[in-house]
Symmetry: C2
Subunit: 255 residues, 2 copies
């Protein structure tokens, strides 16, 4: 039997106007949908399209179920918020293919990119990712905390802007506060920190505070946190939110 297809689709950060036409077309073409239930709920599926929604923490099991169905000839779509390649479903599906039966390598596998959270949050703040930057997941479910700590120090001392994904959860309430404590020993207290939640959606919250005042309880699991560098600047404006940007040129301020 010929294997079917599996497409991992990025729906963007939540505002339907930020989902690409390519992603919309991939959704129209698929028959079976796997994903975290709030992402599946965003889609206007037809009655003939089947939903296989699951909890957020079951990524590998979900990937395997989707691959199993694709290997049987199905037209399968795995849905992801933001971009599927950034702390989302694409890597989980690849892991499952790597460890799975040979047949899974015959599946017509593709990934449709999307706008990832840090880009949507950065756009609302100005251009905080305007020079070299990095993206770090603060979840220590999949890597030890000392690796995260090492990466935070490397990024801060080398002058990368940082975007934090998975900054905090009920099971991991202390990571973000600890990360700020570590960064305060390597960066000036004036460095701007942006907390972005639901960027581009009606319930959007964008908050800008200096690193010296940043605390873990300013974020929840749906927040993307961006930490500037000593080069990052804030432009104050009357009656409008300040603009935060990281200049393209290197001045050599601070560190």
């Amino acid at each position: 039997m010929k294997a079917g297809s599996l497409t991992v689709v990025g729906l963007g950060p939540g505002n339907p106007d930020q989902m690409s036409p390519e992603a919309a077309a991939a959704v129209t073409a698929a028959e079976d949908f796997f994903g975290y239930f709030p992402y599946i709920d965003r889609l206007n599926l037809r009655p003939d399209q089947r939903r296989h929604a699951s909890d957020n923490r079951e990524e590998l099991a979900r990937a395997r179920a989707a691959l199993e169905m694709a290997a049987g000839g199905g037209k399968v779509c795995v849905v992801s918020g933001g971009d599927p390649g950034v702390f989302a479903m694409a890597a989980a599906v690849c892991e499952a293919i790597d460890e799975g039966p040979a047949l899974w390598r015959e599946i017509d596998f593709s990934v449709v990119p999307g706008i990832t959270a840090m880009l949507a949050v950065a756009a609302k703040a100005g251009a905080p990712l305007g020079h070299d930057f990095c993206a770090i997941s603060l979840s220590n479910n999949l890597k030890p905390w000392d690796v995260i700590e090492k990466r935070l120090i490397a990024a801060a001392t080398a002058g990368f802007v940082m975007a934090f994904y998975n900054p905090i959860s009920k099971a991991r309430p202390h990571q973000l506060g600890e990360a700020f404590d570590i960064l305060r020993t390597h960066l000036p207290g004036s460095v701007p920190v942006i907390f972005g939640r639901a960027a581009g959606r009606p319930d959007e919250v964008i908050r800008i505070v200096p690193l010296a005042e940043a605390t873990g309880d300013m974020a929840d699991m749906a927040t993307c946190v961006i930490v500037g560098t000593a080069e990052t600047r804030v432009i104050e404006r009357e009656n409008q939110r300040p603009i935060v940007y990281s200049p393209r040129y290197f001045r050599g301020t601070g560190a």
Copy 2:
């Protein structure tokens, strides 16, 4: 007189199906368009919409001209490839506002995010950005080479996947080759390197080679280069391009 508006719009990596509906709506709403001419040429502008195309190296002058027009009451759009906040026009506009007259801070300023090149290239390869990663511009027009070198070493030794923007140009033919030489002293030669050009367009080229064999002449100025880590894996397949992915979990392989 009341100031007008200026929106910096990300058109995505080149495939029109990867441009968001939000970006399309921003283009429809604007009257004057500033940008690098190939980006302006991508738009289907109406006869009443005005083009102010310019060369790629005139970013700050272009930003000032756009702000000047917006300050005079215009509905101005600055167009950018990919995402405007990632090595593109958003930071240049912010720099101009920061250094410009007070009136420019009254402009209704916004940024519309887009899919940036590294996400489009990563999607074509699998999930190479599947764990912590960074984005580095290899252009030393705006920062000294020793800063770039320091960031390359920091990223390699801390285990970040790297995406290189502006890897090479006629004026800077040696940077990418030097970057690979530096990385070879810190990473195993087997680490996969992805060269992605025109991802998602008819002339797309995706090439995957081990770091040991990567050379500067494998890229041109329109290429986005992704360098994995010791954790990054390649899944070989029959009759299909290999899949490259960086696992979400940290194994502690290599460095």
